[in-house]
């Protein structure tokens, strides 16, 4: 197995001390090393937000894009060079708020992409406004009277949206999290890993302690990830018992497997070929 250190860049993360994203980063570096990937084979595509700074701290190819647009950019990367291991990363605001439309369609599309959402249930980089996964009636800077909107359930949304791999991890459980990443990256198709990644600065509600008191592992309860109904039922659990682990996995044909243009290899590597003049026959 390769050393996780090869995936460390020489840039020190600028996250707040104790941020959940450190655990996400370390586990991802370990997972890539365990999978014997090499840095040049990986492309990490992020959106905008605290967590979206991750590519800068990871030694691989990286793209830091626009708020909410990591998935369509990552999809373009995969269409352009399917030989790359493509990992999209971002936060809950990025993926489930401004980028929610792309999230839904990326699941349908089923390109072989791993999507890691560092879910801290708050907007951090903009200093603490409500996010789509902020719980109801929680007070934030933008909801001083309490958040009136109900909390989005990313796991249920992913199941309904047709994701072929749906998992949840916790950055306080780094070994477990690294295993989830490995399964997600190995999975052929779109894989969501929603990660509880506590924000020490702006979310005083969903803390490490809060999660530690509530989470349990699906594999300990003999959950069958092939069972869609069971996965949907587990996705509804919140409050005193919150599951982490693989909710659902169902390998089906990926987009790139079905795309005839990609049958001859990665698009960016195809040699130049002059256009066959027979294409003009339809205009004569």
């Amino acid at each position: 197995m390769a050393d996780a250190a090869v995936f460390k860049s020489d840039i020190k993360p600028d996250w707040c001390p104790g941020c959940g994203d450190f655990g996400v980063l370390n586990s991802l570096q370990k997972a890539c090393a365990d999978l014997n990937l090499e840095p040049h084979q990986v492309m990490i595509v992020s959106g905008i937000g605290c967590s979206s700074n991750l590519p800068g701290f990871f030694n691989s190819y990286g793209l830091h894009t626009l708020h909410g647009r990591s998935l369509p950019v990552a999809s373009g990367v995969k269409l352009g060079n399917s030989d790359l291991t493509v990992i999209a990363t971002g936060g809950d605001g990025d993926g489930y708020g401004i980028g929610a439309g792309h999230f839904v369609h990326s699941m349908r599309r089923n390109l072989d992409i791993t999507y890691i959402v560092m879910d801290n249930q708050i907007y951090g980089l903009t200093t603490g406004q409500a996010s789509p996964t902020t719980e109801r009636m929680i007070k934030t800077k933008s909801t001083p009277q309490g958040n009136l909107e109900s909390q989005l359930n990313p796991i249920a949304l992913a199941l309904a949206g047709g994701a072929s791999f749906v998992a949840r991890g916790f950055s306080g459980e780094p070994t477990h999290l690294a295993e989830l990443y490995k399964q997600a990256i190995r999975h052929k198709g779109f894989a969501l890993v929603d990660v509880f990644s506590p924000c020490m600065t702006y979310n005083k509600n969903n803390t490490y302690t809060w999660f530690k008191e509530r989470i349990y592992k699906l594999e300990d309860q003999r959950h069958d990830p092939k069972n869609f109904e069971a996965a949907m039922a587990r996705s509804q659990e919140w409050g005193t018992q919150i599951p982490i682990g693989v909710f659902y996995q169902n390998e089906r044909m990926t987009y790139e497997e079905g795309e005839p243009a990609m049958a001859h290899g990665a698009m960016s590597k195809l040699p130049f070929k002059p256009l066959d003049p027979s294409i003009l026959l339809e205009f004569v």
């Binding site: 840039i11 600028d14 090499e38 840095p39 040049h40 084979q41 492309m43 595509v45 905008i48 700074n53 590519p55 800068g56 030694n59 691989s60 190819y61 990286g62 793209l63 830091h64 894009t65 626009l66 647009r69 369509p72 950019v73 990552a74 999809s75 373009g76 990367v77 995969k78 269409l79 352009g80 060079n81 030989d83 790359l84 439309g101 792309h102 839904v104 369609h105 795309e259 005839p260 243009a261 990609m262 001859h264 990665a266 698009m267 960016s268 195809l270 130049f272 070929k273 002059p274 256009l275 066959d276 003049p277 294409i279 003009l280 205009f283 004569v284």
Partner: protein, 588 residues
């Protein structure tokens, strides 16, 4: 009927098969060595409404749709009611006399009523279009065999059983016309010269494929969708992934992602979709990702006129996305030009590592025209590429070079890992925005990027050197851009025929604006008239901003339909009769 041309209108409702009659006729003309120009006026409905195909063909180049018709093929009563008076004296109205009628008032301008008893000439009423086309072939002195071949091609594969009945119907129409009416004696001068017949959007697709575009992304939007359709059927077998996306934000973002890998990428849309794309156009500017974007303009603002033409997006494209970044904007003028410009756009994108925007409009993209055979062996230049990195020093994706262009590696190259960041970054791509902002680095990187414009400007001034077309000592210079090129050329010829020395000036390179070259070209002009399809004369305003040249005489159209040549002609004459507006040409 003084010129050797034939003008035909086909009118009816959406769903009547107008486009297939029009397209068949266009091919028949082209196969007989004629030049064709056709414009189809339609609405945003699938069934019903009024569709009006206006086509002119001739042995010499034809530049615009006809204003009057020799022959109107009416597929419903509405077409007769609306267009009968536009048929020239001695011209013919071909119609199904079982279902429609031509009344005396329809013939007030001297057209002849040519009713076709379809029930007697064809097995099924649905064949009225074929019968009428057969009759047209006789009146316009075209060989019936060309129509028979077109029918075989149209139905042979899908419905072979209807080929013969249609050929019979065409012959019946031809014979009926022969027995009842006189030929027009147009003397079209048919030949065996091979010409292609296509619409502008097909040329966009062909240009992209010739340049080895590997990924095309789009969300359906009129009038850009036919690029998507052409590429969807021709892309995969020519090494191009064609991806319909959930919206234009995704189309643009996906094209950027693909472009980042080294695959040539393009996206296409109309103004509304482009509005959604703009943030990611700036992303391509910041990441220095080569990508080609086509905006086929239609009438705005907002959803505006979905099926009508306008040149109203010039400023939108010029100002797309926040901040400043190098962009190249080109406005091709004809269908051939669309093909070659699109292919070259990929080279420019690769050389300057920036978004290249191509502005078209509904008229250019959807009108049908004959083009000379296209040279598919286009030049391909991928710009500065580093294929391997063996140095122990880290690879600098955004190396500060004299040209501003930093040689790029394609992701997947060993040992050259780096991040391309949307936030301001240093030469290695490391963001400088979060922990500390670094003014000197920001300044250096901004200047590095913007310096690319100087190289692009120099190159574009050679490739697409702005120059006057026509007499150097003209009394009037008609200025325009994009789809109006054809109209301007027609106007120049007409003015010259009437003894008015005229020339034209077309602005193809919109950004970086070739200010010095444009000023030099226009400095000798006596009188400038801007002709464009928008309300505020955006090109005249841009020209004034970039050069100080203030064109006060403007002919503008924003009703959605293409310019009508005779109306433009009258306007030009009116302008010439006036004293020149002061400052018509500003001093240099």
């Amino acid at each position: 009927m003084k010129r050797k041309t034939v003008s035909v209108w086909v009118g009816g409702a959406a769903g009547d098969g107008i486009a297939s009659v029009g397209e068949s006729l266009a091919k028949i003309f082209a196969r007989n060595g004629l030049h064709v120009y056709a414009y189809n006026s339609y609405q945003s409905v699938i069934r019903g409404g009024h569709v009006w195909w206006q086509m002119r063909a001739g042995s010499e180049k034809v530049y615009t749709q006809p204003e009057t018709a020799h022959i109107l093929i009416a597929l419903n009563q509405d077409a007769i009611d609306q267009h009968a008076l536009g048929v020239e004296t001695g011209g013919a109205i071909l119609f199904n006399s079982d279902r429609m009628q031509v009344r005396p008032e329809h013939l007030a301008h001297g057209a002849q009523s040519c009713g076709l008893p379809i029930s007697k000439l064809a097995k099924l009423p649905i064949m009225q279009n074929t019968v009428a086309t057969g009759a047209f072939m006789y009146l316009a002195e075209l060989p019936l065999g060309s129509l028979e071949k077109a029918l075989e091609e149209r139905f042979g594969k899908k419905k072979p059983e209807v080929v013969q009945p249609n050929i019979d119907a065409a012959r019946a129409g031809y014979e009926f016309a022969k027995q009842n009416w006189k030929q027009f004696g147009l003397g079209l001068g048919l030949s065996k010269t091979q010409r292609l017949v296509m619409i502008g959007n097909q040329a966009f697709g062909l240009g992209a494929l010739a340049a080895n575009c590997r990924v095309y992304t789009a969300y359906p939007m009129t009038p850009a969708s036919s690029i998507l359709h052409f590429l969807a059927s021709n892309g995969p077998k020519n090494g191009c992934v064609v991806k319909q996306c959930e919206d234009e934000i995704a189309s643009m973002a996906m094209a950027v992602g693909a472009g980042q890998t080294g695959a040539r990428a393009m996206t296409g849309t109309s103004g509304g979709g482009f509005a959604l794309m703009t943030e990611a156009v700036g992303l391509a500017g910041m990441l220095e990702t080569p990508v080609v974007i086509v905006n086929v303009q239609r009438g705005g603002p907002s959803t505006g006129l979905p099926t009508k033409t306008e040149q109203g997006d010039l400023f939108q494209v010029l100002g797309a996305s926040q901040g400043e970044y190098p962009r190249i904007i080109l406005a091709p003028q004809t269908i051939e030009d669309v093909f070659y410009t699109t292919a070259e756009a990929f080279n420019l994108a690769d050389r300057y590592q920036c978004p290249v925007l191509i502005l078209s409009d509904l008229l250019l993209s959807e009108h049908t025209e004959t083009v000379d055979p296209l040279d598919l062996n286009v030049k391909v230049d991928r710009g500065e590429i580093v294929s391997e990195w063996t140095s122990s020093e880290p690879y600098k994706r955004y190396l500060n070079t004299p040209s501003g262009v930093s040689p790029r590696v394609f992701p997947g190259t060993r040992n050259a890992q780096h991040v391309s960041a949307s936030d301001e970054h240093d030469e290695r791509g490391i963001v400088i925005s979060d922990v500390f902002t670094d003014p000197p680095t920001r300044k250096m990187m901004m200047e590095k990027r913007m310096r690319k414009i100087d190289g692009a400007r120099k190159e574009l001034a050679k490739t697409y050197a702005p120059k006057l077309e026509g007499s150097p000592d003209a009394e009037v210079t008609l200025v325009g851009w994009g789809s109006t090129a054809n109209l301007l050329r027609a106007m120049m010829r007409r003015l010259e025929e009437e003894g008015v020395r005229a020339n034209i000036f077309l602005i193809k390179v919109i950004a970086p604006f070739l200010g010095d070259d444009v000023t030099a070209a226009l400095s000798t002009c006596k009188r400038l008239v801007m002709i464009e399809s928008n309300f505020t004369s955006q090109m005249a305003r841009l020209l004034r901003m970039e050069t100080g040249i203030h064109i006060k005489d403007r002919i503008l159209k924003y009703d959605g339909e293409p310019f009508v040549p005779s109306e433009v002609y009258k306007e030009i004459k009116k302008i010439l009769a006036r004293a020149p507006a002061r400052e018509a040409v500003a001093p240099r």
